[in-house]
């Protein structure tokens, strides 16, 4: 009776189609990521040794901010045009529907960031050993960020200027992700085992997949009505 898979895949497909129709908007976090990475050598130093030292952390901070940038719009247009209301009363499990939307968000924000990160790595003189761990940690980590960010986006969806507030709410929650994300890259550069931090990121992602959709669904139900 309950068409659970329809809720997930339906919203996933729809959001991907919407992102494709609004390619310019969907690409802006990626462009932001690239732009800010040119600021770093200008602001700090073009010296490759110094850049290499900072690269893991900086790439992670930028990825975090780029994801945050696109999170605000996750539910905003659905809220404005009434499709969020339809989502609340559709006979599908809201938590799964929401997971479909977040997956679409990751596919258009986190995944592209992960794919271009080697280019940024080269621009910031990231040592070669760090590239694969960086991509792996970004892939897992940005998925966590999308999920956590979606909780904040759901809580602030009915506020007119939710963007700044959203960052106040979710940045503290992002901290464990950035700790283990950049640590994995750093460990690989130092020749240490980087699978440990990566495994913890994976564990965080599993936890986030299990819990965040419930929090998002609850937030949408309780808060978006007022």
């Amino acid at each position: 009776m309950i068409a659970t898979s329809v809720g997930f895949s339906g919203y996933l497909k729809r959001d991907l189609l919407l992102a494709y129709r609004r390619r310019g908007e969907a690409a802006s976090p990626l462009i932001f990521f690239l732009l800010v990475s040119t600021l770093i050598p200008l602001g700090v130093s073009p010296d490759s040794a110094r850049l290499a030292e900072l690269a893991p952390g900086i790439i992670w901070v930028m990825a975090l901010l780029a994801t945050l940038l696109s999170t605000e719009s996750l539910f905003a247009s659905d809220y404005q045009d009434g499709s969020l209301e339809q989502m609340l009363i559709s006979p599908q499990l809201l938590a799964l529907t929401v997971l479909g939307k977040v997956t679409a968000h990751w596919l258009v924000s986190g995944l592209p960031l992960t794919l271009v990160s080697p280019v940024i790595g080269i621009m910031l003189s990231l040592p070669g050993e760090g590239t694969v761990p960086m991509m792996a940690s970004l892939a897992l980590g940005t998925a966590c960020l999308s999920l956590i960010g979606a909780v904040g986006a759901a809580l602030t969806v009915s506020l007119r200027k939710g963007g700044l507030l959203l960052s106040v709410l979710v940045i503290p929650l992002y901290m464990p992700v950035i700790i283990f994300g950049s640590a994995a890259v750093q460990a690989a550069i130092d020749g240490l085992n980087w699978l440990g931090p990566l495994a913890i990121l994976g564990a965080m992602l599993s936890g986030a997949i299990a819990l965040c959709p419930l929090a998002i669904a609850g937030a949408l139900r309780l808060v978006s009505n007022n």
Binding site: R21, G82, Q86, L88, I89, N225
Partner: protein, 213 residues
């Protein structure tokens, strides 16, 4: 055979910020009934609709679907209702056809979707992105759901807004057909409808709200 009405609302009330929105609502709707919900602007018509569609949780009272609380048969109930609110749920970046496909049951065929668009007079606009359509046409896209949906109970909040004369007549026809097939309709509108057996229910604002500035 159950004798319980299709939809029963008992002593339903809703508080917003410690303040009752309307006087407790009691109503019953049988198959084939059409109920027009009336009330001044801000009386709580939309709130009542949203409560009945379970988008909002009531503070007190109950809503029964075929005699069972909708909390108990939530998914069954949700599969049997259709709600078209003020905001149509139409995505501007998608075409009329994509919007309708997306808002219709998964098993709807491409033909049915095309037919539904013809029914609401959007036959030639299926592939046009919705941002280039007018407000009335957006509403028509949403109203095309009435054709593809298999829901028993329709909740229509101001369905005639920005619809032209012919559109109003066509929609009234469609409502009548739904009733003839044993469906039920609850709608709020300021139009005078020419539909047989139309009953009205008037939403009274609660005394609480007078006290607030």
């Amino acid at each position: 055979m159950s004798t319980a009405p299709l939809l029963t609302v008992e002593q339903l009330s809703y508080e917003r910020d410690d303040c009752n929105v309307f006087k407790p609502v009691n109503l019953a709707v049988e198959a084939g009934d059409i109920l027009q919900i009336e009330g001044a602007n801000g009386a709580g018509k939309t709130t009542l609709m949203r409560l009945m569609t379970s988008a909002l949780q009531p503070t007190a009272g109950s809503i029964l679907y075929q005699g069972r609380s909708i909390a108990q048969c939530r998914y069954e109930y949700l599969a049997d209702i259709l709600y078209i609110g003020h905001q149509s749920g139409v995505k501007m970046a998608l075409s009329a056809e994509e919007n309708l496909r997306w808002m219709s049951p998964a098993s709807t065929s491409a033909n049915q979707i095309a037919e539904a668009l013809v029914t609401v007079g959007l036959g030639g606009y299926a592939d046009v992105p919705c941002y280039s359509l007018s407000a009335g046409q957006h509403r028509r896209v949403a109203l095309a759901r009435l054709t593809t949906s298999r829901a028993k109970i329709w909740f229509l909040d101001e369905p005639f807004t920005s619809i032209d004369k012919q559109g109003v007549a066509a929609l009234q026809n469609q409502l009548q057909n739904h009733l003839a097939q044993g469906g039920a309709i609850l709608l709020s509108t300021h139009q005078n409808l020419a539909i047989d057996g139309l009953r009205t229910y008037s939403v009274e604002p609660h005394a609480d709200r007078g006290e607030l500035r």
